[in-house]
């Protein structure tokens, strides 16, 4: 059993901030099958299509029958910890700073043995539940947790290296005026965030839920208009050094595509708010977050974007909006690469139409803002990179994987 972590002490401004080191990053190309699994929180192993043997580590031929047909498939997560060790003097800076570090060898019920990072409550001979996690280098690693829940499970020191748990962290929600933003604030508070900064553009304009927010402890309403470079810079100068998680809930949703609009005025607004807003936020807050990736219990940990699933495949009914989201998705991959040296995760949530005014005429199913908020917190707590919220988003993901052309034709209705 592990003790709950203590709240971080106030930072001593005289001490140098420890710079983030990265665990070993090199992987074979095949091994990125696990990266893909970890990004979505799936547990996948290679299983031979010819003889059904599970294999690990990543291989280019089946060790049982030499077939090259070794797809990554969802695999049973249960295994048994055969042996453990505690590395006390590793040769690598990242692990040396975090030693002692516990690892073990797990025999999976489905066959292979896997070297894994261990949750402190794992014990030899006992069953474990396996996952692939993205470590601070952004690469997948196997992680063994006890099969049953244990007290304070998420406070485990090694587990917390793999996640961006909001507990004791300070979070900026960029758009508090939206339903998603407001629900996210509530969910983050419930998850133990120390402070939630709530960005509000034009704060003199009242908004739904404002009175409730102002009464809560641990909430600070701040002036922020993401589309305004100066507004972002002002806020970053003020709180940039204490934003551990940034949740980009900036949204600008208008129906319509290309031919039924006149001119580019609306498109400019869409780009200003969604794309340039994201860029402004990244330039304002990204550099400090990248520096503070190893800054103790409340180190910077994650950047979250709430994106439309139509970033992945254009929905002509909201065609120009879809394009603005695609631009954001592409930019997010650039930012992910740039935040990586800091060990800061970049998580994208893809949602279908949300149950708000701008999707008024869209028939259900629609995603409740609360479901998105809960998905954000769950993604942070388990360290995911790509999350599909709701049935529409999940269906688009599957159809895109099955046949992108079919999806393109069928979205044109």
């Amino acid at each position: 059993m592990i003790n709950p972590i203590d709240p971080p002490r106030r930072k001593n401004p005289l001490l140098r901030t420890r710079l983030p080191a990265s665990p070993p990053r090199a992987r074979s190309r095949k091994s990125h099958g696990f990266t893909r699994a970890a990004a979505e929180g799936r547990f996948m192993l290679q299983r031979c299509a010819a003889c059904n043997t599970f294999a690990y580590p990543a291989r280019d031929a089946c060790p049982s029958c030499l077939s090259a047909d070794l797809p990554f498939v969802d695999a049973p997560r249960r295994g048994t910890l055969l042996a453990e060790t505690t590395a006390r003097v590793p040769s690598d800076v990242y692990f040396r700073e975090r030693a002692p570090w516990r690892i073990g060898l797990v025999k999976m019920d489905c066959g292979p043995t896997i070297v894994a990072h261990l949750h402190a409550d794992c014990s030899e001979g006992a069953p474990v539940r396996m996952s692939f996690q993205l470590d601070k280098s952004g690469q997948a690693v196997a992680f063994a947790r006890p099969e049953e829940e244990t007290p304070n499970m998420d406070d485990d020191r090694q587990w917390r290296e793999m996640t961006a748990d909001p507990k004791f962290r300070r979070v900026l929600v960029t758009n508090g005026r939206s339903a998603i933003g407001l629900e996210t604030v509530t969910a983050l508070q419930a998850a133990g965030a120390k402070t939630v900064f709530v960005g509000v553009a034009e704060p003199w304009r009242p908004f739904a839920g404002e009175q409730h927010l102002r009464k809560l402890d641990g909430i600070e309403i701040v002036a922020l208009d993401a589309s305004d470079e100066k507004s972002v810079a002002n806020l970053a100068a003020d709180i940039g050094g204490k934003v551990d998680i940034l949740i980009n809930t900036t949204e600008y949703i208008r129906p319509g595509g290309v031919l039924d609009r006149k001119g580019t005025a609306i498109a400019r607004e869409e780009i200003d708010h969604a794309y340039l807003g994201f860029l402004n936020l990244a330039q304002g807050f990204g550099p400090a977050m990248r520096m503070r990736g190893a800054d103790g219990v409340n180190s910077s940990a994650a950047w979250v974007n709430v994106l439309s699933v139509y970033a992945l495949a254009n929905w002509p009914a909201y065609g120009a909006y879809s394009a603005s989201q695609a631009a954001c998705l592409s930019l997010s991959h650039c930012l992910r690469a740039e935040l990586r040296p800091g060990g800061v995760k970049l998580t994208n949530l893809f949602t279908g139409p949300v149950d708000t005014e701008w999707f008024q005429m869209v028939p259900p199913p629609k995603v409740a803002p609360r479901a998105i908020a809960q998905a954000i917190v769950a993604a942070l707590k388990s360290g995911l990179e790509d999350v599909y919220v709701g049935d529409v988003a999940e269906e688009i993901r599957q159809r895109l994987a099955a046949n992108p052309k079919a999806l393109e034709r069928e979205l044109d209705r």
């Binding site: 580590p57 042996a83 453990e84 505690t86 590793p90 692990f95 690693v141």
Partner: protein, 394 residues
């Protein structure tokens, strides 16, 4: 249809000669090429031949950079008609003598120089760890970057728990080897080691503690392989190769390593040599960790599986003891000069049966066994091998 396994042909007429050790250094700014060059130079000088008389070359090293064996022929002015580069880590020396033996038997070559050498710069060891193998890169190194220590810690813990082995049992091997090393002027470890000191050492990766680990260093080892008629014409004292075995990825279905590939092949090893384990005068095991040596005592037939600890308690493993073992001090006390670590035991065993081991000489040693073990690619050591040698007196 099943494929018949056939009996391997004998090593009749194959001998080893000219054991060479280039004394190790903890750190050296010299390259692997420099160390290998020193070893070749010593081979030629001690054999009384010219370097162009060497017509076969077999090289092992972790730190040659972009050089392969063929680049070395030009570097050292050799002109060989048989060439091999063996990247088998701790099994490289056994594999080298096996391949060279067949080359001289088949007259593909007359004199094969088998050489292993490695540099040790301040950062060499970490770089070797990082770039060891694909499985290691993908599935071991990102887990604490503990290198071989962490991987062998898992094996050691499981082995010790399974057979009720204590750290003190394992420590007897390290302590005896240190006693041997005090008689070897080339050993890097020059202070006595007591079992109390062994037990009190700081943990590295539990249950591996400091004196379970080898010290990486720079150095080289070498020997010549030829036919007995060639040795006779050169007037070189030589040892006959009686028998050898080699095995890779044995017992792949064992969930964890409790035995090495030797266990599969020792029947053939002793049968071909026409000897039993009791006949051996001196034994050189591959001691990257003492627990691996204990495993070898079992798998090489000196005791039954699970009785390694009792065997160690019941025998004196020092030079003058009843079971002289790793008489140079082994890698644990001499140092591990990369791939030369694979050669250390075989070269010392050759010296023993030739009667030229000097201060570490076992009286009347005529029959020696040397083993190799290597390549912890993922969760276990994959390569194993052994050689039995007979000196001229037998």
């Amino acid at each position: 249809m099943t494929v018949e396994k056939t009996q391997r042909a004998s090593y009749d007429g194959v001998v080893m000669a000219v054991p060479v050790t280039i004394p190790y250094m903890r750190y050296s700014i010299e390259s692997a090429q420099w160390w290998i060059g020193r070893a070749l130079s010593a081979l030629v000088a001690q054999a009384g031949i010219k370097s162009l008389d060497i017509d076969g070359l077999c090289v092992s090293s972790f730190t040659l950079g972009n050089d392969s064996g063929v680049g070395l022929t030009q570097h050292f002015g050799l002109c060989v008609r048989w060439l091999d580069t063996i990247p088998l880590g701790g099994a490289s020396a056994i594999a080298a003598v096996r391949k060279a033996a067949r080359a001289v038997q088949a007259r593909d070559a007359d004199i094969v120089a088998c050489v292993a050498g490695d540099a040790n710069h301040v950062d060499s060891f970490r770089q070797t760890l990082e770039n060891f193998s694909r499985f290691n890169q993908d599935a071991v190194y990102p887990y604490g970057a503990g290198g071989a220590n962490a991987s062998f810690a898992l094996i050691a813990r499981n082995y010790m728990r399974t057979y009720g082995v204590t750290r003190e049992d394992v420590g007897r091997i390290a302590v005896a080897q240190r006693a041997n090393a005090l008689r070897n002027p080339n050993a890097l470890m020059k202070t006595p080691l007591s079992i109390e000191q062994y037990l009190a050492a700081r943990p590295i990766s539990d249950p591996i503690h400091l004196f379970d680990c080898v010290m990486p260093c720079a150095g080289a080892e070498a020997f010549l392989v030829m036919r007995d008629d060639t040795a006779a014409s050169l007037g070189l004292p030589a040892a006959r190769v009686l028998s050898t075995i080699e095995r890779h990825n044995a017992f792949a279905d064992d969930p964890m390593q409790l035995r090495g590939g030797w266990a599969k092949d020792i029947g053939e090893l002793y049968a071909m040599a026409g000897v039993t384990p009791d006949d051996l005068d001196v034994v050189q095991t591959y001691d990257d960790y003492p627990v691996i040596t204990m495993m070898q005592f079992e798998d090489l037939g000196f005791c039954k599986k699970g009785e390694g600890a009792a065997f160690v308690r019941e025998h004196d493993l020092t030079i003058d003891g009843d079971f002289p073992h790793n008489t140079s001090g082994g890698q644990l006390s001499v140092g591990q000069a990369g791939a030369a670590g694979a050669y250390l035991g075989l070269v010392e065993g050759l010296r023993q049966v030739l009667g030229t081991a000097g201060p570490t000489q076992v009286k009347a040693a005529r029959l020696a066994l040397a083993s190799g073990f290597g390549m912890i690619n993922y969760d276990r050591g994959l390569a194993s091998g052994a050689v039995i040698l007979a000196g001229p007196a037998r």
